[in-house]
Amino acid sequence: MFEWIKESLTVGNATVKYPFAPLELIPDSRGKPEHDALACIVCGACATACPPNALQMHLDLPNNNYIWQINYGRCIFCGRCEEVCPVKAIELTQEFELAVMSKDDMLETATYSLQRCALCNKQYAPSKEIDYLNSLLDSFAQNDEEVQRAKEQLSICPQCRRIAESANVKFICEQLERRA
């Protein structure tokens, strides 16, 4: 009995001042993921990795859009999206006060346009993904024939590429002969 009273008196106040003062967090604690819509290349790796499907990608073909969406109500702050993103476009912050008055406020979306095939005009990939690949190709020597060919291929859809490819058999044969 007296031990307990003594303990209570010596310990003092165990509660913290939060929410009237900021809560002290451990440096690596995991909070709200922040999406950098400009850096994102719309590859969809995060949506594939997300365990609770908080991150989803929706295709909106009539409006030529690819919609990236996160639902903070479903997020479990595991950080798999951060782990798999190839361009660091999504990163976990330490923000944890995510309560909102309306469910819709938990959603955050980013809308990206789709690229149309240079030959058949069908949509086949997000424009930003194609831009990203083009910028990668730009870092190579521009007079290289293979780089030029890859850039041409990027601008057409997979189906047109197959058709173009079969027409290019002659070209490929010549390349092989030259290498040999």
Binding site: W4, D28, R30, P52, I76, F77
Partner: protein, 642 residues
């Protein structure tokens, strides 16, 4: 130890045996001599390492000399002695044997020999039932299968899965429950989930499915339903029959729950009382069935399931996550980096710290000693900070992937952990000393909620519940997994069989955990924490196991051919502990009931309302949480009046 072996004609040969574990060597000498002669003949047969499919020798009639197996061999494989003994006892029962990992074997037996085989391994060979797994294997073998996972804990410690196939047309197999009572919940669940019929099962009530579920819809059959399907309700009334044995006395029923302020989890208890004394009790659970197994098999890929397993329990989720990850790793023979294994053990022990402090606090609370409850919760905060430090989340969430862990422990974190451990040890010791010296604590807990040793042996409870009845069974000591193989783990036990013993076990384990964390930090090897050097192979299976704070968690995973699990069965520790509760409640008073339920440390979920039943007036009234809160604060205008 086993007369069946020593009487056999194989006895007499010896020598040539590889070095044995020193501790059990003496008691196993007879078995060993029987095994040894065979070892030379079969040396080649056992060089299979971790390749499960390479061990299907049982199907070949020409493989007769391979029947008897060496207990220990160069690959470190164990468990053959049990198969040998089973073949000796029932020569025609065993159809096939396959190995999943160095300490896991599956023995497929003839259907009619199933009860005898399980009984023999359970009672004669020192087995305890971990889990019963049903599997719809019709697309693979054409039949269903039932798997009884036994943890062999006397000689030659290992896991043995006794498997038998059940015909897809008759759906019948002989029930094991009359011989091994521990199987009762598992077989009731087989009826619910697969529609299999254990012939001779004494209790055929539903276990998992609610009363309003259609009779002919079996959720886990592969061809039954989509995981999002919600069938229309078939009835509006509860028709679950609560059983009791009045022992010739006139009893009154006291219902508790499904939502009740003292039961901490949605569960419905019926106490059959005479005056204050509980004559018998029955209960039903699964009010919060979440269908996780179905979701995992239908929607999630292998890595994603580790994050789902975190959410099985609000307290010991990490233990489930490790059990699941190791089950897949065992199935594929993945060598997880040493450092990852140490980190897993570290986090498991941190989880044990906060879980045990929670339960010790709750025991105070149930004794009506709320000062102690608040003091333990104050100290517990340090362990939550430890979890945050290690994983970035206060609840050790999201750390595992198949093949390792996602975060390393950095040098300065190690120092911070060590200083937190010192603080925890000091703070908790003060409280524990004061608690033990509090006369009310002993008065309320000693001799209350007795779990008889025989009942414990029959029903295979786990964790502090069984260790409080004098059985020192602890997965960390019996089957060292992840980082525990580097430690000397001693299973704690107390012989009192009462609530006090269970609390004392938890107190001891708490301090053991502190020591273990310090040791694990010291021995952590430098190196990678995650491996991706493996490929998924369809239909491989194995079990994974951990010692959660409440006892043994066991996960059974069979891989599929579509980047999803074919079958996943997870068994939480408390699943094994519920069936013995009936025996623990009998003979105590109503006032002790919450304390007894709390002493098995069932997994808690939030209760948000309370139903008050007036037995005299035969009326009941449900009070919403906000009404209750308002009344607690103001003590005016009771919600029960008017």
């Amino acid at each position: 130890m086993d007369t069946q072996i020593s009487d056999s004609k194989l006895v007499g040969a010896d020598a040539g045996m590889a070095s044995l574990g020193d501790a059990q060597a003496a008691q196993r000498s007879e078995v060993r001599s029987a095994m040894t002669r065979q070892s030379d003949v079969q040396a080649a047969a056992f060089q299979y390492g971790m390749q499960p499919e390479a061990f299907q020798y049982g199907m070949q009639p020409a493989a007769a000399p391979k029947d008897a197996c060496a207990s220990f061999n160069e690959a470190g494989n164990v468990g053959e002695s049990h198969i040998f003994a089973l073949r000796q006892k029932y020569p025609s029962a065993v159809l096939a044997v396959s190995r999943q990992s160095h300490d896991q074997l599956t023995v497929t037996v003839k259907r009619e020999f199933l009860p005898e085989s399980v009984e023999f391994l359970y009672y004669v060979r020192g087995g305890w039932l971990s889990v019963v797994v049903g599997n719809d294997e019709r697309p693979i073998t054409g039949n269903y299968s039932v798997n009884y996972v036994l943890s062999m804990e006397e000689a030659d410690k290992c896991f043995i899965i006794v498997r038998t196939e059940v015909d897809a047309d008759t759906l019948e197999f002989p029930s094991v429950t009359p011989k091994v009572p521990a199987c009762v919940w598992g077989e009731r669940e087989l009826r619910d989930m697969f529609g299999l019929r254990p012939i001779g099962l004494p209790d055929e009530r539903r276990l998992v499915l609610p009363d309003d579920w259609p009779n002919d819809l079996y959720p886990l059959r592969k061809d039954s339903m989509d995981y999002r399907y919600r069938p229309p309700m078939t009835t509006q009334t509860e028709n679950y029959e609560f059983v009791h044995d009045d022992q010739g006395k006139e009893t009154t029923v006291v219902p508790i729950g499904p939502m009740h302020i003292t039961s901490d989890e949605p569960g419905h208890f019926r106490l059959f009382v005479e005056g204050e004394d509980i004559i018998d009790a029955d209960y039903r659970l699964f009010y919060v069935h979440r269908g996780m197994e179905k979701v995992a098999e239908s929607r999630l890929n292998y890595d994603n399931v580790t994050f789902l397993t975190d959410r099985i329990c609000g307290i010991c989720g990490y233990a489930h996550s490790v059990a699941y990850a190791t089950s897949v790793e065992n199935a594929l023979g993945i060598q997880v980096p040493e450092r990852a294994q140490i980190i897993r053990a570290l986090c498991l022990e941190v989880e044990r710290l906060h879980s045990h402090l929670l339960n010790i606090g709750l025991v105070c609370h149930f004794c009506g000693f709320d000062t102690g409850f608040y003091q333990f919760f104050r100290v517990r905060e340090t362990s939550m900070e430890l979890a945050e430090l290690l994983t970035g989340s206060r609840k050790t969430y999201g750390l595992n992937l198949i093949g390792g862990v996602r975060r390393d422990v950095l040098g300065e974190q190690g120092k911070a952990i060590k200083s937190a451990i010192v603080k925890l040890r000091k703070d908790t010791q003060v409280l524990i000393d004061a608690l033990i010296a509090t006369p009310n604590f002993a008065g309320r807990t000693a001799g209350v909620g007795i779990l008889d040793r025989k009942v414990a042996r029959d029903y295979s409870p786990v964790g502090p519940t069984v260790r409080g009845s004098g059985y020192a069974r602890d997965t960390r000591a019996d089957h060292p997994f992840v980082g525990y193989k580097h430690l000397k783990v001693e299973a704690r036990s107390y012989p009192g069989c009462d609530i006090q013993s269970r609390a004392l076990v938890r107190i001891d384990e708490f301090f053991d955990s502190l020591d273990m964390i310090e040791q694990l930090l010291d021995i952590a090897a430098v190196g990678p924490v995650l491996t991706t050097d493996f490929n998924y192979q369809p239909h491989q299976y194995a079990i994974g196991f951990t010692e959660a704070p409440r006892g043994e968690d066991v996960h059974y995973s069979m891989l599929g051919d579509n980047q999803k699990l074919y079958r996943w069965r997870c068994k939480a520790a408390t699943y094994s502990n519920w069936p013995v509760l009936r025996a623990m409640l009998k003979g105590n008073t109503i006032a002790d009931a919450p304390l007894i339920v709390g002493s098995i440390d069932p997994c808690y979920s939030c209760t948000d309302r309370v139903t008050v039943v007036d037995v005299k007036k035969r009326s009941q009234k449900t009070v919403a949480y906000d009404q209750l809160e308002r009344y607690c604060a103001t003590r005016k205008h009771s919600p029960l009046k008017g």
